[in-house]
């Protein structure tokens, strides 16, 4: 029934070549584009940032069974509190959320009380400062964005609440396809880690503006308005972890990932149950369907 007569084949081979040419032309177009991309990367003065792709760190929260390293998050909070909080706010996270980091109610209360914020008007209509409560959001270092800008050479330090999800340099084709299968979703913390450990002297010929620091990992330029915030020994760890920039950078990045995605572990563990359920269900359906269709040729 599916025989093709001779003349037919000839006509088809001829036309076949037409469409093949079209196909080759398209492939050629793609190849040119690939070359352009390669050429761009080799340019002396890069116009696409970041100059360096983030380094990849092994995170405890990566992968299908990812879990927080509670000790790491606590160290991260310490770094945030002692260093970064001087400039960066964390205004979507509440003090009570620190329960996730294993702190007791009393500890959280004490931690919150270190900060002050304007109270509701009192009986005389005056507004006074009161200590923060666990239900309050983290109190930021500046009263408003203008003050933050003014204090930092015109570049306001971004809020930390979502930074670990808001910074993810594009990985490009075909890497992003592989990422689906390797379940790579740690672009954010990798970026922050790389940035914090990535300060180097600017190569000759690169201009660094006043108040800026060269950093090839920065997503929006070759330098940023934040001087290296970390140095070896800056923060004292009580749990014996190394007091190095590398360790600090990992800990604060993990903390920032938690701040941005506090439900990450809950999400993955629920996900596993859902996947198992769907897999078993799909398996049962598969055999049921096969059985039903077995009497019908299709």
């Amino acid at each position: 029934m599916l025989t093709i007569d001779q003349r037919d084949t000839k006509v088809n081979t001829m036309k076949f070549s037409i469409s093949r040419i079209a196909g080759i032309a398209l492939a050629f177009g793609l190849a040119i584009a690939g070359n352009v991309q390669a050429a761009e990367q080799g340019d002396a003065a890069p116009t696409h940032f970041p100059i360096e792709q983030p380094k990849q760190v092994e995170w405890s929260f990566a992968g299908p069974f990812g879990k927080w390293d509670i000790g790491q998050l606590q160290r991260g909070l310490k770094i945030y509190t002692e260093v970064c909080a001087a400039c960066h706010s964390l205004n979507k996270v509440s003090y009570r959320n620190l329960a996730d980091l294993g702190y007791s109610e009393a500890q959280i209360k004490a931690y919150a009380a270190e900060y002050e914020l304007p109270d509701e008007p009192n009986a005389d209509g005056e507004i006074e400062d009161r200590p923060a409560r666990p239900s309050d959001k983290f109190v930021g270092p500046y009263p408003n964005a203008e003050a933050a800008k003014a204090a930092n050479n015109g570049a306001a330090p971004p809020d930390f609440s979502l930074l670990a999800k808001a910074r993810a340099p594009l990985r490009g084709f075909p890497t992003f396809v592989f990422d689906v299968f390797t379940m790579y979703a740690e672009n954010g913390p990798d970026y922050i880690y790389s940035l914090l450990t990535g300060y180097v002297d600017a190569p000759a010929g690169t201009e660094v503006p006043e108040g800026g620091s060269y950093n090839p990992y920065f997503i929006a330029g070759s330098s940023l308005a934040m001087a290296p915030p970390l140095s070896d020994g800056l923060i004292t760890y009580e749990d014996g972890s190394p007091e190095t920039v590398d360790q600090y950078a990992k800990d604060i990045s993990a903390f920032m990932m938690w701040a941005a995605e506090p439900k990450l572990v809950e999400r993955k563990s629920l996900g596993f149950k859902v996947m198992i359920f769907l897999l078993i269900f799909a398996g049962l359906l598969y055999f049921t369907k096969k059985r039903i269709w077995s009497s019908v040729k299709h």
Binding site: A168, A220, T288, V296, H298
Partner: protein, 432 residues
């Protein structure tokens, strides 16, 4: 099934009573139990059912999200974060809805390309196809407005760029732009009306889906051979055959969706949308969501003015040209049933069409990739070549192929094709 006889027999007394007053059970029985479907449908035919499921998921998650969301420009972003952090399973709702939208589009693209491949749009299914295109356009509008709601940087700037193209329309462009935005720039009024419309449009989609399924049940489905159903032997009853198959496909699709929801929920989104909208800070690259990228590439491919040759008279400037090309690339779907001149439905028997189909697929994927690239240098040139091919495929290839192509011999019936494939002379009736 309209026109045909109904096989429904009410069993209980209440069933009989109801059937004489509102034969809803009869409608359901005839449409989803006894309804005959071709016995040779492959899995590409399960995407209609998958789309129905996605529509329901989007509706349910969307309605619950709307209970917690605040459509006000200074609070929208924070309200979404509250959903993510404080609402019970709010993160799940939001990730389901956001990734659900992407998967809705994955399913609809497969569904549409299934239609292209098997010639599903041909006589007598033109109206069915047109209803599908209307659904697709409504989906695009819904998705676009939904993306604005979290009020992130990409929400804001995507809305600004896309609505900005309306100003290209001569004479009325500026008025349309102002009407759309509720002002001269994207702001709180824009957010309010987009929220309202984002809630409304899915219900309009439901309406059109009902018509779509109605039209489907009038003409019946196509099948991979493209040969119409000729006898009862060619079909199987919807239940249990199609129901089981669709259910399995839905669950497999859910499995992939769940993988994204639970393990890579932000993979398909843009990181900049986790930065609250800042009207004074333009992102480095403004890109729409991935499912609009091919159309975005077409929009940006028109970088030249179109005028009367050898004069300086410009008839269509590049901006308007881009808008026309983009809308044209969608609207052309409406006339595909009349552009395709071939009498043979399925690509399985159209050797040339089959190749051009795959080239077209590559062109569309290529356009998507180009849409994500900056509109400069070689990317623009390539976008122009691909855009040209996109229209060339519809306007030239489809009509001409039908005239010059010599199709392969077509099987006499579905059953014959099935038996030839399974290599057995057994002609037992599928219905027993």
């Amino acid at each position: 099934m309209s026109g045909g006889h109904s096989a429904y027999v009410p069993k209980s007394g209440f069933g009989k009573w109801m059937d004489a007053r509102l034969p809803l059970a009869r409608l359901v029985y005839d449409s989803f139990v006894a309804y005959p479907v071709p016995r040779n449908l492959n899995n590409w035919y399960t995407f209609g059912a998958i789309l129905s499921l996605m529509l329901i998921i989007q509706l349910i998650t969307g309605i619950v999200l709307a209970m917690h969301y605040t459509p006000e420009s200074t609070m929208a972003f924070a309200s979404v974060e509250k959903i993510m952090r404080d609402v019970n399973y709010g993160w799940l709702l939001r990730y389901m809805h956001a990734n659900g939208a992407s998967f809705f589009f994955i399913a609809v693209y497969i569904h549409i390309f299934r239609g292209f491949y098997y010639g599903s749009y041909k006589n007598p299914r033109e109206v069915l196809w047109i209803l599908g295109v209307i659904i697709f356009i409504l989906m695009m509008a819904t998705g676009f407005m939904g993306y604005v709601l979290p009020w992130g940087q990409m929400s804001f700037w995507g809305a600004t760029v896309i609505t900005g193209f309306f100003t290209a329309i001569p004479i009325v462009g500026d008025s349309i732009h102002t009407l759309l935005l509720g002002g001269f720039a994207v702001d709180n009024p824009t957010l309010n009306r987009f929220f309202s419309l984002h809630y409304l449009l899915p219900f309009m989609i439901i309406g059109v889906v009902i018509l779509h399924v109605w039209a489907l049940h009038v003409t019946g489905q196509t099948n991979p051979t493209g040969v119409e159903v000729k006898s009862e032997q060619d079909t199987v009853p919807f239940t249990p055959y199609a129901t089981m198959k669709d259910l399995l496909a839905m669950i497999v699709f859910m499995l992939v969706l769940a993988y994204f929801i639970f393990y890579m929920p932000n993979f398909l989104g843009h990181p900049d949308n986790y930065i609250e909208a800042q009207p004074l800070v333009t992102p480095a690259h403004i890109v729409p969501e991935w499912y609009y990228l091919p159309f975005y590439a077409i929009l940006r491919a028109i970088t030249f003015d179109i005028g009367i040759p050898f004069t300086d008279i410009v008839l269509i400037n590049s901006k308007l040209g881009g808008v026309i090309a983009m809308f044209g690339s969608l609207l052309i779907f409406f006339v595909v049933p009349w552009l395709d001149t071939s009498k043979v439905r399925s690509a399985a028997y159209r050797p040339l069409f089959k190749q051009f189909f795959w080239i077209f697929v590559i062109v569309c994927v290529g356009l998507g990739w180009l849409g994500s690239k900056p509109a400069e240098g070689i990317y623009t040139t390539m976008s122009q070549i691909f855009t040209f091919w996109y229209f060339f495929h519809f306007i030239v290839i489809l009509p001409v192929l039908g005239l010059v192509e010599k199709p392969k011999p077509i099987p006499a019936s579905i059953t014959e094709a099935v038996l030839a494939k399974t290599g057995n002379g057994d002609t037992s009736n599928a219905n027993n």
